[in-house]
């Protein structure tokens, strides 16, 4: 075959390959969505983080506004210290509530922020003091059973 035709086909082939890798990175992978731009870091202490993982989304009103940067155990307070990277465009009041929610019944866990009413905003390195732990299913079930049992007891007493 003609030399230039082969060159043309191979060039086409390599370009196609590069396009495929780019397509995988941008359309299939999360190379674009993980890019939040400039961020500031705040921390939050939780007594129980459940199944929260690094890189989990931080949402407010359901919109992703940041990511969980790191999780470590604080041996002094016996709490989990969660570092959150939030988008610089969004400022939150100092008394913002941080909750750990679960997406769906068995889905991944994320941090939900609910804005408070304070006039001063959170700055780089601040700590969110109002937090609510992850819901642990076993705890909830045992609590439910306990309540049920005590309800039955009071019913029995009323019947007597």
């Amino acid at each position: 075959m003609e030399r230039t035709t082969i060159d043309l086909w191979v060039g086409f082939f390599v370009a196609l390959g590069v396009a495929a890798i780019l397509g995988l990175a941008l359309k299939v992978g999360n190379l674009t969505s993980s890019n939040i731009g400039e961020t500031y870091t705040v921390t939050a202490g939780f007594e129980n983080i459940g199944g929260l993982k690094p890189r989990a989304p931080v949402k407010s009103a359901g919109v992703v506004i940041g990511r969980v940067d790191g999780i470590r155990f604080d041996a002094e307070t016996y709490e989990a210290q969660v570092t959150l990277k939030l988008d610089k465009r969004y400022a939150f009041p100092k008394d913002t509530f941080a909750n750990i929610y679960t997406a769906g019944l068995l889905g991944e866990q994320y941090v939900g922020l609910e804005a408070g009413g304070d006039e001063v905003n959170l700055k780089e390195g601040d700590k969110i003091t109002h937090t609510q732990d992850a819901v642990v299913l076993e705890k909830m079930i045992s609590q439910f059973l306990y309540n049920k049992a005590s309800e039955n007891k009071s019913d029995n007493k009323a019947a007597e």
Partner: protein, 263 residues
Amino acid sequence: MFSSLKSVIAKIGHNFIEGVWHLGAGGRLFFYILVYLGESIRRPSLIVREIYATGVLSLLIILVSAFFVGMVLGLQGYNTLQKYGSSEAIGVLVALSLVRELGPVVTALLFAGRAGTAITAEIGLMRATEQLSAMEMMAVSPVGRVLAPRFLAGVISMPILAALFSMIGVLGGYFVAVPLIGVDSGAFWSQMQASVDFREDIVNGVIKSVVFGIVCTMIALFEGYDAPPTAEGVSRATTRTVVYSSLAVLGLDFILTAFMIKV
């Protein structure tokens, strides 16, 4: 009785020595090819010609099978996922299984069948018709002139083909899930993007396909170079290329996955 036992043990020993000898000869050839790699890079026209033979000519079978594999994944995945009411997760299923496993592995298997056999038969026949000896007579190294460009071409072509396989497979899954079944298009892509990681999934897939490219091309080259110079010898070498390549790819895939997935 005693002599038959002796001959059985002798056969095992013979086969073992044969196997070790082949492994050593393959390793030596690999080393030679690495030595001549620099020389062959200086003649890119040879490499381009081989990329055309191994890569471009394999495009059709790779793309068509990728589309069908993607469509089958879409159908099968939907069938199971809808029982749990999470048919939107079909995009995640198709993308992860293609990018992590099926893309590199199926591409390597097809590559061994499509391009590997061609390489083995070509080199085996070159040896049988004494073209390689003729080159040596003219002080041209057959390793540098014939084997090294084919090796490079195989190593370059494989990741490109695997990436194309994954991309076309995802499109095949999309074709089944969105227009045919009616899964929401936004959920399909967004759930996929939320769970496919660039470093962990896509780059690891590319690493796998590069390793498979080295192994498949190397096996094809060695079997061709080592083939007895007869019609039967070349045909057996071609068969061995497919068998050894497939086994090596599937075995290596397990080892690579075990390294990549942190348990």
